[in-house]
Symmetry: D3
Subunit: 319 residues, 6 copies
């Protein structure tokens, strides 16, 4: 049994040995970590298929393959950031507001000490809690990579669901629409104004999946970076932004999404943005028989941490 | 496509043809039906694994095998009762009290017209709604076949869950403890008084699974019938009363439960009890890869309807 | 329970509530519908893996995600066409000619009233029945998107299978080879002349999958439109035209097929063609554990309906 | 690679090495074998779920565990009988009568040389072919272990299906009703006379599953042996005679069937009957995710061979 | 996140929250624990299907349902024993002797401090390591519940496999045959002497599965207790002793095994035996799609701990 | 049953009929075959997930779809090469060196007679055995298409694993680094020098997956051909070179790999290289629920044989 305080090395101990923490990191909520994995096992906000509560465990299981060094970005994210696995917050099944409270209560003190959380969802409704936990004196910019904008006003009269959290976040002043962008919209819609409303009514920019597919990635990244600017930014990644044929383990299967590699390149291309928090959400293990969805989510989190590590390195070494 | 107002006959049309209604019955909420299948696709009350919202669909799919006549009881339940499939109530994901309201609002008027509902769950928290919908001037007797008593006071401070509904039903005066019995208790417990509390504190009788296994079924049935007496009775069947090796598609896998046939015999043995409603709950299709759990649930509902039909026949023909 | 005569709206009622009709459309065979979903649950024509009989149900289940409006084509197909779900024809397992009779007997009267059918298969042998049901005074053009041409003369001496229906359709004068094209051919062959025979012997044009991959989609679409011309055309889509890694739930897994998005773009690009009928065939749910194949099939049918709706709108409003 | 002419021994070569023949027997149709495994990969006779065509392969895969010696009956069946695996007959998908012809054409010559076939199905319609292949100068007795009697006259007007073959066999004079018995009937019925018709109209005896459950096995066996008498007998075993919770991989899941061990004991108890052929049918691998159904089928075939071997030994050594 | 030093209580924190330790026990190898769960993730000894290396994780996952109190034996095993989850030993894939070394090196020091290990396997070859770790000044008695005796001399000339470890243990003087018994033998055999050799050659007693099925459990237990006597005893439980229809997730599916409840009763009936160690082996998660096998294994371990707790209580309180 | 000495034709016999040999080829080790399929069912070298021992069977099952003629290369590989299926070598579970011995002992004599083996793995450690079997007077060039270079020195001190075989092959002088190239490297690394070491320390060239994605395939192929030159070359294809979303059934899921069609084009583009052997390894059926991984592996082997056939044709007909 490993009882180390650093990442276990698969060259000396088999990958499946022991309890599956993220990337075999030590379990700890120590406040000198610059980044921390936090599971949010809650799916009460889903309007369709539940099971996201088992997402954090599945992503951790898949993450066992992650090693020390990221060659694409030339960085050792776990080491640079002193990253730990902070376990799960006490999400209570069936009671979304208690999940929000748990996230805020458990994570906000860490954020105040300088820890940047990487949340593993959970359904997307949890992101409202994530935003509350990382909130700053001013609203943050939001990068939302998702097939859906999640800014509807309600479902069946209910205001807090995985399809409405973004509108609530705007109402609460957590997100600055002028520094926010949704990337990856696609699928059939309830209404002709479903997307345009985003810009016209809420002041948020968006890129459809087709727009991303039809232009060079650099142009896409440029536009995202331009929108986010230099301020504090939260990055929320919904796995359903990827095409369901490549990431079936999620709740809403809209054909025409991103390729797995496209997503890694997109995250890597955001080095330099000042991220104050991340989440990877909507992984549903029961619909993921070959584990590729959880695996992709783990890799996305790894790239997020790598980008964060690069930013920290550049800060400490401004040369 | 069948557009008949009676059960489709598999001798003339293949079983898989058309929309999967319960036992290929017509879809209708007509109030002259004596019995009606009602789906309650809700799982927000689950404290562990969700997915019971897909239970009604899975039970209906499995029920396509059910034919007209029950040879074990010599009765044609669907014909005798003019049974229909009333579809699903508008359960709202994430909001248990709205499910309760929907059940009451949609089903109570039917009950008042003389329809006896057979609810397909859904998690067991729904049974509180079922009891409200069938409630009478006086509390009803309750036959609860279940591995767990579901009469805990709360989970994490929450009062409405699939482990606490029975206590709420008692508090609301929906259930008469003196005419109630829980059958099938087993598994590890939180506390030494977990079971004895039922009798000592709440006044409800119980039989453990071991007690049922260790005596002739007739003795068990006699004791149940004695307890229920001649008054109005609700019969709630939790599929986890069956051993998980035989019915894996449920949330809490306690070894040592009933055999499939034992369960059919138990239901059949209750002909004569005056049932005012039934439910079959806690079927989780995502954990039922070979469909045997949903299949057993469908057969249990068929035996419930058969027992009800016999009682109606005996009433109309008291000879 | 919804008893509406229009598409249920997932903003007010959860997607999984009720019986799974295509896109939550009303069930009806009313003859004033301009388009109708028709299931053909038959797989007796398969020479290898059966199970296509469960295809219509799986595609309907997946289609529950489809909403009212198609942003890619700016159209509300269901509303424009008054689309309904006409249920399944009475296909009889094991007897292909009875399936043909059922399709013709049930669907031809609808076609004569102006209904355009969108058939959900079923194995590809059913397409002979579909063509009979939509046949006009003259042979129709055929757009066949498929990994295989299905124009072999026989398998083991049998003339009616999912590999021979196209030759039968030509013999019956249902299809005009000069206005027909097969798109997506690939895989190993029985013979050097397997493909060239199509053109040389039968007078049908074809594009291999490699030819589609290696040129801009616009060029492909131009060539297809040129071939189909302005006359009545049937569009048959075999899901095995897609690469098996992206759509595994089918019978013949030939590596090198289309991408999911490529297929959507292809269908969308055919707006303007005068389609008299459509089918989506060869979905095998037992081989589709993550549902992506049925999901893609549902999306293809949605794009077909959208293209049809555009054509109807352009007819009624020629401006 | 083994190229031996006898059963491979798992003590010297791993079980999974090489091509999966039944019990690792040599592949051969040599006519000096006293018993031979014959696969009949056909499912066109199924009225509901297809896939039985893959049954022979699944049973063979499961049978790799079978070793040389049966301790329950103290016999080495493969050695005593010189048993081989004769492969599959050329069943043609979609064409039942061609399957019948193939069985008769390929197997009848073997039977005439003294080979006793053990057929691996395939759906139950195939048994008509099996009976034709083993037919004698006089009708044979039939032991049918099955949840259903398969003696309906037709389904949707069709006379040759897995639910009607027994009536056809009687009409063809292949089976002697006076020496026939159906064991294991259960489930809901189309009609009050569904079972009694067997005796009253067709002259065949039957035992319901309940009757078997409710009496000692010895009494059951005695009654079967009495009925079969000393003449030539065919033993047809439908895996759906077992409870679906224990053998889910089949087409019709009727609750209340036999236990796995009960079935082994039943077969073992028939030593002494003069069997001229056997089949094990209705194994559907696609519904058997944990392989227990195919595994049980393989064990049933092993016990059949053991009983046959005992009978042959007793013949050659009448002492 | 729980960081408690005792079992988490599901009444206050959802079962799926956090890292899946056995029964939600604290992770620790503290030497004042009287019992400890130890995973041995090794399957290199398997002669057929691998994957037992994932057994410990699967059993832990299933064990999350285990609560504090065992009503069948009226004991709180975890509390009485101060039980912890000691994690996994460093088994090295592909190198059985290194697994043996790891078990001995990591666990022997714990045993010497008075910790009784409950090993979660892993394939059965690991038991040789378990016996070395718990060995005493004298050979221990062995209770082996298993479908196979595992005392063959070699497979393909190799001496250390899951089918030969018992012979090696005897040769090493770890096990006293005169105080050992194998319970549950069944299935086909390589040889007429396969079982009798146990007694005749090795001096070990055995009970076949049929012998257990055919007599009252009390008689079986009496015989086992008599054989084991009052000395130190190791209890090795192979999950394949259970019928494969009830516990499919294992390597060798021999029909005719125990029922799940039968197994619990058997373990409970052994209270009073002086156990010095336990294991539960041969759980293969990849073959356990509905998790019932791992679930049963977790329950067996719970009963083992309960029996051990009773013995400790009786020692400390001889009254 | 087919007993032909050539490939069965699916136009006259259904694909699933009979024992699943590769592409329905005859089973034989006749030495006049120019190419032979050889299964190596061994996975003891895996450091993480086992199950590759079942790879050969799964690839053969998938290969049943392969027909006679390859239209992309205009060649009939099986006919040109007189190809047979030589079955499996006697790999012994748990003992890697015995697998090496078996490969060498069984296959080397065939190679000496002029047979070119196409090995179906098995984990990648087996490739050391493959190289020994095909070794020439001089070291061969190696084309390794793989996400990992497999040239680490040891794992947990062990020298023979699926991550270290290439270093061993170099040490044994089996491979000429100057004529070797690794294609497809990606994923997180243990170390900054993980890849550069290949060139700097071992003298082997490599192309990362990103490098392949970012340039035209022709340039990639040119570079590979240049490196391999005109000498004897072994081609080892690890299925994990493909993106896990498209080929999930393998042990190490690194996001960002090749597309299925990209891989076929790559193999086809190597016509002209002088290959002396091939393998396709690391297919794990238990993680391949929709069979797409095994299917792709079968297609890769088909393209390998096609390229070999072309080279043989060009040799015999140098015009």
């Amino acid at each position: 049994m490993h009882e180390s305080d650093k990442q276990a090395d698969t060259r000396s101990s088999p990958r499946y040995n022991g309890f599956p923490t993220f990337a075999r990191l030590p379990v700890s909520r120590r406040t000198d970590a610059q980044a921390m994995i936090i599971g949010v096992p809650s799916d009460v906000g889903s309007t369709d298929r539940p099971g996201g509560r088992f997402g954090p465990a599945a992503i951790r299981q898949a993450s066992l393959i992650l090693r020390q060094y990221n060659p694409a970005l030339d960085v050792r994210p776990f080491e640079v950031l002193g990253c730990t696995d902070g376990g799960d917050v006490e999400a209570i099944p069936g009671f979304l507001h208690r999940t929000y409270e748990a996230v805020e209560q458990e994570v906000r003190p860490l954020v105040e000490k300088g820890v940047t959380p990487v949340f593993l969802g959970g359904d997307h409704a949890c992101t409202l809690g994530h935003l509350r936990a990382v909130r700053d004196h001013a609203p943050v910019g939001l990068l939302l990579v998702d097939a859906h904008h999640d800014a509807w006003d309600d479902f069946y009269g209910e205001k807090y669901t995985h399809g409405t959290w973004l509108r609530r976040a705007l109402e609460e002043g957590l997100v600055d629409p002028a520094r926010s962008i949704v990337v990856g919209l696609r699928g059939s819609l309830y209404d002709e104004r479903d997307w345009t409303m985003l810009h016209e009514e809420l002041g948020i920019e968006y890129l459809t999946a087709d727009e991303v597919h039809d232009q060079p990635l650099d142009a896409v990244l440029e536009r995202i970076r331009l929108r986010l600017g230099g301020g504090s930014t939260f990055f929320s990644f919904d796995i359903d932004s990827v095409d369901p044929s490549f990431a079936p383990g999620t709740g809403a299967l809209e054909v025409g999404g991103f390729f797995p590699r496209q997503v890694l390149l997109m995250v890597r291309g955001l080095a330099g943005v000042r991220f104050v928090g991340f989440d990877v959400v909507e992984v549903l293990p029961a619909l993921d028989p070959s584990f590729v969805t959880a695996n992709l989510a783990a890799h996305v989190a790894f790239e997020m941490l790598s980008v964060l590590a690069l930013e920290r390195l550049s800060r400490s070494d401004p040369a």
